[in-house]
């Protein structure tokens, strides 16, 4: 009997066993490969930063006016042991208009999305760059090297030529290699550099506007604040090692997503396993009763079932672990394209440990599921689980009281109402699927929302946005040049019949301190110049309007213990100006650490770090996308963008990645739930053979029986959809909001009800109905004589 039960279960439940096996295999693949990837990336980031000698602090200077003072100060700090070492390097800022690509005997514009482009050499001891094999870079004259991501984005190849015109110097250089550039190679840094020989760099340096960079190696926590307190002029931006590490950790997002899918698959596999196990136990109660009656211990009977699942889980997890090895290797190879890793070898042990954990987890779960056997006596089991207590209250609904329900609908609804626990597994599975589906949908929708645009200081109402208006005239260094450029563009547009109003957002790095302390902070400061200046929102207080007013982000306020109404000193062009804090806000500018200047204050003498996308207002009904297209055709020398494009550009293209994942994810989820539905429906039909036969005997058609089954499954789906709505809102709150908050500000997760609660669940619903319809075909083969199976 022992082997009979085992053999029968393996053969009879072939479909169920195969599906369980698939789930365990897939979840092992996802979990093992993604955990392996995260472990590799995690250790690789530190190794790469160390290998490339990325310092704790990189300080970008827009002027060398205080260079002597700074170097004197740094030398003193070095003597005191506060800093270990430092170095100074130059970067030449160029615009992408000044670069022409020669590829396959054709000339084209350089396609790139980075904020700033710089020319650099390999002279500094810090932030070193390496070729794709990890060897230190050497370049001859007339040779140039670009980061791997830049080469990929601009579709450049080794051997292509670039003509760079800057400061009156025009040279054509050949791309020697792609480089791994730890400090400037990641798209999310927002700065990219072109490496060239020292000689070539000097040629460009003669008339060029350049930035200085101090690379400071220190483990002293207070050094940066002390440096800021010195009030040196020209400090523009400070990038810490932590920021670089954070940026590279975004490489783990896909692995994180795979872990989430793996966990969900394991959860679903466990739910299915519980359902089938309990179903098998109930079905084989009589055999179990006989085994109990002849004196077998509970564990001996449980072992029967555990052995079966042990076999499935061991084979599934082992296969999964084996399959995860090449996938892990592929993922590591993907990471190693952008990083230098100390060990390219895969840690197979980690994959094995993951598989082992899954085996143990599933078996423990199985053991808990078989606990039901302890409670059943031998005679109760022989009686098919009935204890004699047959007088349970029927909790269903009455057909006689439901005047308008069709019979199949009523039967489906009544089944769910009377045996809700039987459908919980399905509901949980469907809920997980629906919630998983809403995550990318809500993320994309939030990124497309007006609130998201505002968090990036963009007015969502603008007709279009334009960037890089400087053209071939080099980069703007003062607001006046920028305003001249804007005026010129307005004139150009006017000539072509477009009367445009433009709002400009110059960005400066300015030094502030509280009026009572000397503690100075260099903060990225944004000024809104133009007609569209009232769209930004404030969490507390109001926008700065008067010349002595300013607003800071919440992070800055919190870090400095500042409150609204207090006064801070702004060091502007050598003058100290008292500014009153009028408001506070959260946004994504500089990872949530910024200041908003009033439009009155004169910053014309300050060095312009950059300028934000210029907001163009036109008298048009056309969408941003349409206007951007028209403008790009009319003025191809500028970059015309929509708010969504700008947002996506600033979040490293996540929106694009998610959008591209949407269809494969829907297909995968649909396949998973169809598989589960098929499996469960087959089990339901097996359980309901007697009832189906009886219904056939009294004249129910096959189509009515299928309608009943489909209706019931559809109701389960609809209930699951309704349950998943509040759950997805909770997911938004507890999962998506914190992820968005990492970028610097919390925002309301936007939901498109049509997509999230109708279209995509509708697709899954269709999949479920199809799977149910397929499974119910087997009801046709149920013979009326099988009424005898009715309990």
């Amino acid at each position: 009997m022992f082997w009979q039960i085992l053999k029968r279960d393996m053969v009879k439940r072939k479909g169920v066993n195969i599906i369980l096996f698939l789930f365990i295999t897939l979840s092992t693949v996802f979990l093992a490969s993604s955990i392996n990837n995260i472990s590799v990336v995690f250790s690789a980031i530190d190794y790469y930063m160390d290998f490339a000698n990325v310092p704790e602090i990189s300080m970008i200077m827009n002027s060398d006016k205080d260079n002597d003072k700074i170097q004197f100060y740094l030398d003193k700090q070095k003597e005191k042991g506060i800093i270990e070492d430092y170095d100074y390097d130059h970067l030449i800022e160029i615009s992408d208009q000044s670069v022409i690509v020669h590829q396959n005997n054709e000339e084209k514009k350089l396609e790139q999305e980075s904020t700033g482009m710089y020319l650099s050499t390999m002279d500094a001891n810090y932030c070193k760059v390496f070729d794709t094999d990890g060897n230190e870079l050497t370049l001859n004259d007339e040779e140039i090297a670009l980061s791997v991501s830049m080469m990929k984005n601009a579709q450049l190849n080794v051997g292509d030529k670039l003509t760079i015109q800057n400061g009156g110097v025009k040279k054509t250089l050949t791309i020697k290699t792609a480089v791994k550039d730890a400090a400037y190679g990641n798209e999310m840094v927002g700065m990219t550099r072109f490496m060239m020989s020292h000689k070539n760099f000097l040629e460009y340096q003669k008339n060029a506007q350049q930035l200085g960079v101090y690379y400071i190696s220190t483990s002293n926590q207070h050094f940066l604040q002390d440096f800021n307190n010195q009030g040196f002029e020209g400090v523009m931006n400070t990038v810490t090692l932590d920021t670089y590490q954070l940026i590279y950790s975004f490489d783990m997002i896909i692995a994180g997503l795979l872990i989430l899918i793996g966990v969900c698959l394991i959860l679903i596999a466990l739910l299915v396993l519980r359902f089938t196990l309990v179903f098998s136990l109930e079905e084989q109660y009589q055999e179990i009763g006989i085994l109990k009656a002849i004196g077998l211990r509970d564990f001996a009977i449980k072992r029967l079932y555990l052995i079966k699942y042990l076999a499935i889980v061991i084979v599934g997890a082992t296969l999964g672990a084996l399959m995860s090895i090449p996938i892990s290797q592929m993922m590591i190879d993907g990471v190693s394209q952008n990083m230098i890793m100390n060990n390219h070898q895969l840690n197979v042990l980690l994959n094995i440990v993951c598989a082992f954990i899954i085996i143990v987890l599933v078996l423990i779960f199985c053991y808990f599921c078989t606990r039901k056997l302890n409670k059943v006596s031998a005679i109760t089991a022989i009686h098919g689980g009935y204890t004699g207590e047959r007088y349970s209250k029927n909790s269903g609904i009455r057909l006689s009281r439901s005047q308008h329900l069709s019979v199949p609908f009523y039967l489906g609804l009544n089944d769910i109402m009377t045996h809700i626990s039987r459908y919980i597994v399905l509901m949980v599975t469907f809920c997980i699927s629906f919630i998983l589906m809403t995550i990318p949908l809500n993320t994309i929708h939030t990124m497309n929302s007006p609130e998201m645009s505002k968090k990036f200081a963009l007015n969502p109402e603008s007709s279009v946005y334009v960037r890089k208006i400087e053209g071939k005239n080099g980069t703007y260094h003062h607001t006046k040049e920028l305003m001249n450029g804007v005026e010129y563009l307005q004139k150009e547009m006017n000539e072509k019949g477009y009367s445009a109003k433009m709002t400009v957002l110059p960005i400066y790095f300015l030094s502030y301190n509280h009026e009572d302390t000397n503690q100075k902070n260099t903060i990225m400061s944004l000024q809104i110049l133009g007609p569209s200046d009232s769209y930004l929102e404030y969490d507390e207080g109001d926008a700065p309007l008067l010349e002595n007013e300013i607003a800071f982000s919440k992070d800055i306020m919190k870090a400095n213990d500042w409150v609204i109404g207090e006064q801070v000193i702004l060091n502007l062009s050598g003058q100290k100006k008292k500014m009153m804090i009028t408001g506070t806000y959260t946004d994504y500018m500089q990872i949530g650490q910024s200041a908003r200047l009033n439009p009155q204050i004169d910053c014309s003498q300050e060095i312009l770090f950059d300028y934000w996308a210029i907001m163009v207002d036109l008298d048009t009904d056309k969408s941003q996308q349409e206007v951007a297209k028209i403008m790009q055709n009319l003025f191809p020398e500028y970059e015309w963008k929509t708010a969504q494009e700008l947002v996506d550009q600033n979040v490293g293209g996540i929106q694009e990645i998610l959008s591209s994942l949407l269809i494969p994810m829907t297909v995968m989820l649909c396949a998973v739930i169809m598989l589960i539905t098929l499996l469960m429906e087959k089990l339901f039909i097996t359980r309901e053979k007697g009832e189906i036969a009886m219904m056939k005997s009294i004249g129910f058609k096959q189509v009515s029986i299928r309608h009943w089954q489909i209706m019931r499954m559809s109701l389960v789906v609809i209930v699951s959809m309704m349950i998943s709505i509040p759950l997805s809102l909770l997911t938004n709150h507890f999962m998506l909001r914190p992820i968005f908050a990492i970028m610097g500000a919390e925002l309301t997760i936007q939901v498109d009800p049509l997509q999230a609660y109708l279209i995509y669940p509708g697709i899954l619903l269709i999949g479920i109905i199809v799977a149910t319809a397929i499974a119910t075909r087997s009801a046709k083969n149920i013979n009326i004589r099988e009424m005898n199976n009715l309990e």
Partner: protein, 253 residues
Amino acid sequence: MDSLRVSNLCKTYIVNKRQNNVLRNVDLEIKAGEMVAIMGPSGSGKTTLLYTVSGMDDATAGKVNFFGKELTELKPNEMSDLRLQEMGFVFQQMYMLKNLSIYDNIILPAYQANNKCKRKDIQERAKVLMQKLGINDVSDNGVTEVSGGQLQRACICRSLINQPKIIFADEPTGALNKQNSIEVMEELTRINAEGTSIMLVTHDMRVASKCERVLYIEDGNIRDEMTLGKCQLTDDMRLRERQLNDWLIKLGW
């Protein structure tokens, strides 16, 4: 044609590559309003005959003319409609849907039939039937909350809800005690008296003695038949049983 006429009906099962001829050229006729019992030893083909004649099982050969309709020529859906609207079934085991109350189980086929009959009328009809069969007190009970006799009477109510031309009953008292058996048979006799034909399979002589005619089946063929005449209230049931017993003994029962 106002009868159920079976001619040359054959039913063959293939079990383990061996042919088993369960019914061999059966001919019979049940007229409208007639109550006929099928008797015979175990394995003689009684139940198979009932299932094949009622269209629940396909015939291997032969014809079944059901009140003018040729069953063997009907498509599965037409057959289902016929079973739902013109036939009633009572089984030995009281098969009902456990999730539904007694009342709901009874009205279920009528709701399913959807023959332009208002649901209110169906409910009224069900109540009348339950009243007649004495189960209106347990109408809201669950299937597991009534006695076997009550459940079988509920099954009879269900079989009558669509006002069928004939009721097929397979050992309707087989799972009941003596008292319940008597009650169920009284109901079936009364229903027959109201005009519904009944074809029942039974081992029980007392049950068969209530029928107008008894067919004896052996080795898949009708060996003999006995006409007892319509059972009246005034009839001496013991006499009918004795007559039947003598006949059966003669046939080797």
